[in-house]
Amino acid sequence: MKDVAIVAFSQTRHTAEDEGLNETELLLPVISEIKEQVGISRFDFTCSGSCDYLLGSPFSFVSALDAVGAWPPISESHVEMDGAWALYEAWVKMQYSDEVETALVYGFGKPSQTSVRQVLGLQLDPYYLAPLGVDQVSLAALQAQAYLARSGAKEGDLTAIAARSRAAGRENPFALHLDAPADDAPYDVAPLKVHDVAPQADGAAVVVLATGDKVREISERTGLKPAWIRGIDHRADAHSPGVRDLSVSPSARIAGEKAGAVNVEVAELHTQFSHEELILREALNLGDDVKVNPSGGPLSANPVMATGLIRIGEAAARIHRGEARRTLGHATSGPCLQQNLVAVLEA
């Protein structure tokens, strides 16, 4: 495989409340910032991830394109998935096209405008699941219960994860700054308490990929070490929660194996619920020595559709700054960790 590196990463300061900016206005500053940073205003390929249902109307990516400066016309694509899958599409393209030496990848979401848990409820099987009115958090709680029952972990273990994530998030200028979980915190859907559920936020994230000579050129300008993608893979599980063992994540396990998820120092995991960290640690075989979500993770800010891309960006940023040599970024999609993407990065 051709060596491709993440050479720059930029994100918004995510907000829990609607600050009056539309998606394009959220994106424009971070795209402008990253163009300035890498010294490139035109990329060989552009790919984005977003969800029309968050906006409540079709074609959310059309106006977002205005933030890119798509003139003269650009080579561009879009996935109706988290931006992490847009990164994967760009990485695949760079593997074979000699003309693509740089790629701009972005993801954005403004969940403050609607109820994400209901939107994701509609994502379910339209015959047997969606008509029940079951929502994303209720399904996650079902998975949490299955995990607790099998592993013997306790609700306190989940709270500890939330506490650690929130503490880390308070150190991250881009995350929401949330208080430590309260002792008497109520359940959202039991066994998940309110702090076990990732707080949705408005935000966007941008990543620049490069290959060949461009990597050196850009690194010299930014002063950042390139984060080389050593492996990247994604897999899906079956959809219905009734046909799979919810306490494990076989798709994450396969993706981790294919991406070479060993010997990592830091893992940024797309944990929208506390218990998912435990399931993913197991699936990706991450030992206690692996630092998980030092950014605070999604439990400190969940800008839906950008959250997975941010995990990869955060994992890259550790390498950019020389804080780690080998890191892992993970993204998920679908109910109960149905789809998982793993990227292994190295200095």
Binding site: P58, S97, L124, P250
Partner: protein, 385 residues
């Protein structure tokens, strides 16, 4: 260009107004199953799945790749969903091809579909939001003024659109999967139908269809084992431009010209009119045939309508466009682009049946979307490039 990529399996459903006898998964499985049969493969042989469709408002299932993962045999495999508006069918095929060209996978299943009958196309495409700064009434309301601008600019006579409307419907009679079949279709019949969005008449626009199309992309090794003749990918390209900006040419968008130039360059084509044998081009309103003839470089500016008028693009013309009947005859929106790509591949495989263009060796598949701002194209050939 990367590793060689071949199309070794193609499957389509019959396109129709309402497929009431199948679920969404059933519709996709029908196309995918036929593609697997064509390639003599089973679900287990597939490495990855790439799906595409236009807005999820059509069926009301946001990001349906989750629900469809196991329905398309993707358990334990990579599954992706592409969405680039009307061009999505083409873009999805290009993303699937890239998985082969990059050497990441050996056999990739790609499926595009729309089940428009579950809601209503106008609603799903132009959900009326607050804070609208413009008034757009369906796709016809958006495109009709641009067609008028083309007519004015090129001096094309009024009847050109009707010629295309008749030609594509005559072609559809040869295609077993086509939706609109109007035996005896004639200019008089088209002319009698009402103006929906003047200058667009009812029969100068596309139907609203349910349907799915699937293809199996394969590496050279995998293609060698395929029982039927493959189509080889000679080039792929995508281009996008903003929908509104000062000085934008909405009649012949730069994105379309650039995309065509890119795909011709990859395929080593200098003159598409002479070097291609057939084209499947996204023509949802009949006037877009002459408009795209110019935009895609089959003739000079202002000359497209003359090619149409003189029968060049007819089934027996020297540059047949849309022998399948095209989007004017079948339009499950999210699938329409991939149907163009698949029909181009069928032609160079020699498997297009009654609508086969004899001796077709190189074919163009084309799709566009949004405000004529997203483009996806590929060129396929009977020989490995």
């Amino acid at each position: 260009m990367g590793n060689p990529c071949a199309v070794i399996g193609i499957g389509q459903t019959h396109y129709t107004t309402k497929r009431l006898d199948v679920s969404i998964a059933g519709l996709l499985r029908e196309a995918a199953g036929r593609a697997l049969d064509d390639a003599q493969l089973t679900w287990a042989d597939i490495d990855a799945v790439v799906i595409g469709k236009a807005p999820d408002m059509f069926e009301g299932v946001p990001m349906p790749e989750a629900y469809l993962a196991d329905a398309l045999g993707a358990t334990g495999k990579p599954m992706m969903r592409v969405h680039t508006a009307g061009s999505v069918g083409g873009s999805t095929a290009i993303v699937a091809a890239s998985m082969i060209q990059s050497g990441v996978h050996q056999r990739v299943l790609t499926v595009a579909w729309e089940k428009q009958s579950e809601s209503n196309a106008t609603w799903a495409l132009t959900v009326n939001k607050p804070h609208n700064a413009s008034l757009v009434v369906g796709a016809g309301g958006y495109f009709a003024p641009h067609i008028r601008a083309y007519m004015r600019r090129s001096g094309a006579p009024d009847h050109i659109g009707m010629l295309v409307a008749v030609k594509d419907r005559e072609n559809a009679l040869k295609n077993p999967y086509a939706h609109l079949k109007i035996p005896g279709i004639s200019r008089e019949i088209v002319e009698m139908t009402p103006m929906l969005w003047e200058p667009i008449r009812y029969l100068e626009t596309c139907p609203s269809s349910d349907g799915a199309v699937a293809m199996i992309m394969a590496s050279e090794d995998a293609a060698k084992k395929a029982p039927n003749k493959p189509a080889w990918v000679h080039g792929t390209a995508m281009r996008s431009e903003p929908i509104f900006f000062a000085g934008r040419d909405t009649v012949s968008p730069q994105g379309g010209k650039d995309c065509a130039a890119d795909v011709y360059r990859q395929a080593g084509i200098a003159d598409p009119r002479r070097e291609l044998d057939v084209a499947e081009v996204y023509v949802p309103f009949s006037w877009y045939e002459p408009m795209w003839l110019e935009n895609l470089g089959f003739c000079g500016e202002g000359e497209g309508w003359k090619l149409t008028e003189s029968g060049v693009t007819a089934f027996d013309g020297d540059m047949p466009w849309n022998p399948s009947g095209g989007v004017l005859s079948s339009n499950p929106i999210g699938a329409s682009g991939m149907i163009r790509f698949a029909e181009a591949a069928l032609q160079v495989r020699g498997l297009a049946g009654e609508h086969q263009i004899e001796g077709a060796r190189r074919a163009l598949g084309h799709a566009y979307g949004g405000g004529a701002q997203f483009f996806a194209m590929w060129i396929v050939g009977s020989e490995k490039p």
